[in-house]
Structures are given as C-alpha cells and as structure tokens.
Amino acid sequence: MARTLRFEALYPYAPEQVWVALTDPEAIGEWLMPNNFEPRVGHCFTFRTKPAPGFDGIVQCEVLELDPPERLAYSWKGGGIDTIVRYVLAAEGGNTRLVMEQSGFTGLKGFMVSKILGGGWKRMIAERLPAAAARVEGGRYRSAHDDPLSHCHD
C-alpha cells in the first residue's frame, strides 16, 4: 500500500541553482522554514515555525542522503508524523524537474494517504468533502501560480 505523498515542480533554472536553494540554510529559511540545516549526512537539525494545536512548531530532522546536485533526503518528525522527505533533481533542457516525496505515513494518516490519493474511496470522500476532493481528485494538485505546476498524489 503506497503511503507516499509526491509533488513535482519544474523550475527554469539549472539543478546546481536549485540544489543551493535546497541546501543553504538561509535559502531554505526563505521558502520552507527557519532551520539550522548543514549539508552533511548524519547532521541533526530542526525546522521551527509557529506552534498550532497538536504541533509544537518544531520538526526534528536528520540528513540521510546527500548527493549534489541530484538527491537529498532527511527525516521529518513532528506534529504526530514520523516521515522521510526526499528531493530528486533532474536536468530537463535548461530546467530542473524537482520531485519531492514524503514517505512513511502510518496509522490513519497512512491509510488516508493511500486510500484518498489512490482514489480508492473517492466517492465516499468526494461527495462529503468538496474542498478537499477538488484538490485531490485524480491525485493532482494545481498550484495557485502558473508555475510551477505541482502534483500531489501517491
């Protein structure tokens, strides 16, 4: 049973440029969250954001994989989930295709990830959850911006 969220985006920049944005703590802080990331396998770091109910605002991470400018993975624990986030970069013409996957969802969340995004219970969820269903139906997510186009599916 697939329990992976997958997002894809195409950026009009070289993989080396996207790689810097993924591995420079200041850059990461701009697009993701404030952090103390270091590009070193085994380095433990945190993301810190505003707390919300059930989430203290801290994500605990460890760098698991680092292969510039192609692959980066770190663990992602916080807010009741214990997952792995993985980025894979591929040159496509002068562009970079970024595939980001978050895997390892367990319990009810894992079930929802696989069933809803897998389309298994589309009708049950779709008719009662118009907003969410509009986003996940067909397993696609279209971002509000023209680029990049992101997908959210399993």
Binding site: F55, V136, S143
Partner: protein
C-alpha cells in the same frame, strides 16, 4: 499546518478501517443507510458477525444507528474521515505552497532567465 486529531480516537478509527469487511460495510452504507439484515444479505457471513463489525464501526464514530420500527438502520458518519482528510489537504497545501515559494525564491535570486 500539521494539527492532529486526538490520538486515541485516531487509533480507534484506524483499527476500525483495518478490516476489509468493515471497509466494505462502509462503502455499502455510503450508498444508502441500511438495516443489519439487508447488509448481511450481501456477505457470506452470519448476522451476529456483521453486527459485531457494525459495533466496532459505531465505537469508532464511523457509523450511526437509529431505530425504525423493529429494525435498526445504520448510516455512514464520515466525520472522523473528514477530519483526517482535512489534515491531509492542509498537509498537501503546505508543501504545494512551499514549492511555490521555492520557485519565487529562485526567481528573486537568479532573475527570470536561468
């Protein structure tokens, strides 16, 4: 972004969903509310066995029950699923927004053309 539903309630829902017969029951109740005898007719299983599965679903809050004459009619209550689906939607939104931010960050740093 990552708000959680009560963990115990969540585990109960997950346990209820883990069984294929109970998932089939939910799909049938999603079509229409039904009595236990109507449901039993669609399985090769005894009525007490189906009743036991319905009890688990009821305790997880996924199914509600009402009396109609001598029958009990069971209906799907999607609330716990809605909760988890909303969590999932927020979570997907979180990453989609962040990847948009990444595109904006690259544009600001390197200009429109790579």
């Amino acid at each position: 972004m990552l708000m959680d539903m009560d963990e115990r309630a969540e585990n109960e829902v997950f346990r209820a969903l883990a069984d294929p017969t109970r998932r089939a029951l939910l799909s049938m109740l999603d079509e229409e509310a039904q009595s236990v005898s109507a449901l039993t007719g669609r399985f090769e299983m005894s009525q007490p066995a189906i009743s036991q599965h319905l009890k688990v679903l009821r305790e997880a809050g996924l199914v509600s029950e009402r009396k109609a004459g001598r029958n009990r009619i069971y209906a799907l209550d999607p609330e716990p699923l809605r909760h988890a689906a909303e969590w999932l939607e927020r979570h997907c939104d979180f990453w989609a927004t962040r990847l948009d931010n990444l595109g904006r960050h690259l544009r600001e740093k390197h200009g429109k053309d790579a």
